[in-house]
Amino acid sequence: MVFSSNIFLFVFLPVTLLFYFNPFTKKCKDGGRTFKNIVLLIASLVFYGWGEPRFVFIMMASIVLNYLIGRGLGKYEAKSIRRWLLAALLVLNIGLLFVFKYLGFVAGIFGGAISIALPLGISFYTFQILSYGLDVYFNKDKVQKNILLLGLYISMFPQLVAGPIVRYGDVSEELLNRKETSADITYGVRRFVYGLGKKVLLANFLAIIADYAFLSPGTNSVMTSWLGTICYTLQIYFDFSGYSDMAIGLGRIFGFHFPENFDYPYVSLSFTEYWRRWHMTLGSWMRDYLFYPLQKSEGFVHLGGWARGILGKKKGKYVPAILSLLVLWLAMGFWHGANWNFVLWGLLFFVLMSFESLSGMGKKALRTTGEKGFQAKKIAYHIYVVFFLLIAYVLFRADSLPLAFRYIGNMFGGTTNSFVDQDFWKYLKNIRFLLPAAILLCTPFARWISGKIKKPLVRDIGRGVAILAIFVLSVLSIVTEFYNPFIYFNF
């Protein structure tokens, strides 16, 4: 089920809210907490099973098995047993991901052909489960003894299929002790509607042009190619951050505080900064559960000592760090999909991030971000970021690597295609209002405007009108069954 659908907005969500906030729960001994949690769990399973009922059982099996491993980690203190349980945890979860996501790809490399459908959101919920198991292993979090609560954490429908990647520690307290306050509900509704608008009113329209440009890149003119990747870059931001807004908003309505996932990534002046602002929960997950543990592993510490001996202290210390960075970016690429495009996409960021670290440029740019006022170097840094982002998104979006190269070739006039054609003018005319609005809304412009309004009453009325307008327009757009895909459902 998608958030921006009739069935979700007008059937699923109202029914869930009706059960969840029914007045009879006040009579329960625990204030209805158990009842509410069960409502949320059942709703989540229905939500997940709506499109593809079979896959609910895979998720449930994953929850049960991870629950048992967690209980084992809670019970045994002997290091040897814990290590076996850790191995079981990794084999189970990475194995599950491997079978559904990568088996076909690997078979393809060896000339075989296996086709397995990808369960919705498996990359997201597997990472959530892993964070739980690893935190229990590292004694960061207590074992969850109630399987229903662990199941609720994993399957909670607001964040189940496309993040934010909520860590167990983020919500472990709130599973049993949370308050649904009217302030949180108001905020949640507002956040949900903003997200809905980003998705339905911006991303979906930008998608038309992006899809056209990437459909048969062979015939694109130079200008159409640029317009296409610009539209896709904007589309994926509004699509994905809109989804996160909706997830965070829905979570808030039910009393949960999910971590933020986006912080205006496209205003970044370096990729060091960009990856602190884009899909933040994935970046910090990779850092804490892959990048740091890998560098700190015995093998990598030894490697560091050895490299220092050969290259000298200054250069040597970067060897394990850069090698870990390579592993990190390959993992980032593969996480997005079993496809050479994503591998190359990851390698591009590996090169950019290594360059920024080793040259010190990343730090210089970060310092510049903090400085006030207009500066020429800010523009230079920003052009650098936007340029490579547009290239990276071609790799990300194109259907295959040859098509991606062909597309990039077109962008730089490397093919015999014309510089500009009829299609370009037609599409540019179609989005002459949408494009500037979309670019403006990638920046903290709206936040700045609402900060300028000093009178709370005026601000509240303004917000109310804006939310109502966004909601009505979004619903109209959905009801007329406008094109409505969610990009991150595929990961």
Binding site: N139, D288, P293, K317, P320, A321, G362
Partner: protein
């Protein structure tokens, strides 16, 4: 072990890892106040501290340490091989 001594040792480590003899660490020193302290250098720093004090940080501590003050608390709580 005395806190002073821990800070003294940490100071040496920080100067060595970040290659800057002007660093003076206190409880509030964090990755914002030391420019070179980023995710690429973090583990180098952690491993150097582990070596000097003869202890191992848990993964939780590695990712959770927000400033030098927290580091010192962990080191104090752990007891170390450094002589008083």
């Amino acid at each position: 072990m005395m806190e002073e001594k821990i800070y003294e040792t940490l100071n040496e480590i920080f100067r060595d890892v970040f290659d800057d003899d002007e660093i003076v660490v206190d409880a509030k020193t964090n990755s914002d106040t030391i420019e070179d302290w980023d995710s690429l250098e973090h583990i180098n720093l952690v491993v150097a501290i582990e070596k000097a004090f003869g202890l191992k940080f848990s993964m939780d501590e590695v990712t959770g340490m927000k400033d030098v003050g927290e580091m010192v608390e962990i080191i104090k709580a752990r007891g170390t091989k450094l002589e008083d």
